[in-house]
Amino acid sequence: MSKLCSLKDAVSNYVHDGDLLYCAGFTHLIPFSAGHEIIRQGRRNLTLARATPDLIYDQLVAAGSAKKVIFSYIGNPGVGSLRIIRNELEAGRLEWEEYSHFGMISRLQAGAAGLPFIPMNQTAAVDLEHNNPNIRRVKDPYTGLEVVTVPPLNPDVAIIHVQRADQNGNSQIWGILGEQKEVAFASSKVIITAEEIVDESVIRSDPNRTLIPDMIVSAVCHVPHCAHPSYTQGYYDRDNVFYLNWDKITESAELTKAWLDEWVYGVKDADEYWQKLGEETHERLKVAPAFASPVNYGKY
């Protein structure tokens, strides 16, 4: 069954005020266009979960969409501080819940696997554990030693950007996989944004590359360049210039608001945003191809 729809419709139908939202992607494939659409549609009181909130959540927090963040590293990757979120946390205006990366993805793994909790070996660093009541200990029934546990994380909705998907939602990703698969299986609803919508036969020609199956997908949106200023492996590079600029923009509330007005509220969709970036940026982000050797699945 085709689940193709516009990103506008997908956000309108599946992202609601007060939802626990997970926009997936560790540095790679971050669905910025979806974040912008959520801002345009004026969602409020969202709980934003991501291992690395990155610029996409800095922007959602700047736009007033969030009441809480769940994270394991709040930085502007490779640049420094994530100013908006950091300021809100320091000012006590934003709730938060914090884990290490491993704690965060273990929560997703538990959520994806339908488990009540997941054990992790202890690390001897207990300060986070003492400040987050979700991080607990149980006695290993086999050795009698203690292990650390975290509960499942089950977002209301996940948004996952992929290189290619068919209209049913079978989605293929290559490059950094981050926590994409776990987020998809852990969430109640999954919105796929794809650089390319391909025929089902393309997916079926390489089933090992399918990370997310159609049965858990609610909507499929064709959104080329959705990940800018992050990147899509093989399609376009990370816009490091923008990551550096964001650090400057967010030094001032006026500049931040002006940026949102111009680049989010001031454009109607991802296409208009990409065109507005201009030829020079498009050229700068181009990548030369490097193809994998084909594999032979055999005819049986």
Partner: protein, 258 residues
């Protein structure tokens, strides 16, 4: 011999590279650790394997990675896996030899704070948080720290233990049962700190031209010195040339701290 000019970052990077052994599997961060690993791989440790928390194994970056998830880490790597796999199959299972760590504060026993200055619930300065470091510090067989030598970075006690060094002493870490040996060397722009039998960081080596007075002035606790403080080997021109001309030609990470 005429002294070669170099920046503090170059000095720390080259000394960190020398700690790595051929065949080491290293959990790498961006910035100086990444440069140190690439330098080691291009010199004395050709079989060093770089793995990244984003889930990349055997990376062979052809440009300087600007983030922990840079696409150059993937192209030409030997394997890519999920984050859950990298933290379980590789790190928790014990397949990582070396972890590099950094943070805003490192205390007398090598505990690291990358989370908060002040009270956790009402942060004075909110720092990025653990990322991968809580588990790397516990489970990598050896950990190294690269940091500029400044008093505010070396307090007697950290405000928050993001990752464990030797806690309040080596015995406490050993009793906790974590598998890794903990922070074995802290590389600063003045010299090298290493844990003594009690797990306390003491100065064991000075870089050429650096003094024990400088170390005392820039450490937040009454730092002890090894009976015989060594001098680190001067930087080789070949190492500097590789760093400057091939690994970080734009000086993105090397120009700082001069």
């Amino acid at each position: 011999m005429e002294a070669i000019a170099y920046t503090a970052s170059e000095l720390m990077c080259i000394n960190a590279a020398r700690l790595l052994q051929d065949g080491d599997v290293v959990f790498v961060g961006v910035g100086l650790p990444n440069l140190a690993c690439n330098l080691a791989r291009r010199t004395h440790a050709p079989n060093l394997q770089m793995i990244y928390e984003a889930g990349v194994i055997g990376a062979r970056p052809t440009r300087i990675p600007l983030s922990i998830g840079d696409p150059t880490l993937v192209s030409g790597a030997s394997s890519v896996c999920s984050m859950y796999d990298i933290f379980t199959l590789y790190l928790q299972r014990g397949n990582v030899d070396v972890g590099f760590l950094g943070g805003a504060q490192i205390d007398r026993f090598g505990n690291i704070n990358a989370t908060v200055i002040g009270d956790y619930a009402k942060p004075k300065v909110r720092l990025p948080g653990s990322g991968g470091s809580q588990e790397i510090a516990a489970w990598a067989n050896r950990c190294y720290i690269i940091t500029p030598h400044q008093k505010r970075r070396f307090p007697e006690k950290v405000d928050f233990r993001t990752s464990a060094g030797f806690l309040n002493g080596r015995a406490e870490r050993e009793a906790s049962g974590v598998r890794g040996k903990g922070p074995l060397v802290v590389v600063t722009n003045l010299g090298l700190l290493e844990p003594d039998e009690s797990g306390e960081l003491i100065l064991t080596a000075l870089h050429p031209g650096c003094t024990t007075d400088q170390v005392r002035e820039n450490t937040g606790w009454p730092i002890k010195f090894a009976e015989q403080v060594r001098q680190t080997e001067p930087l080789h021109e070949a190492e500097l040339k590789l760093l400057r001309e091939e690994l970080d030609p734009q000086g993105i990470y090397l120009k700082s701290g001069g």
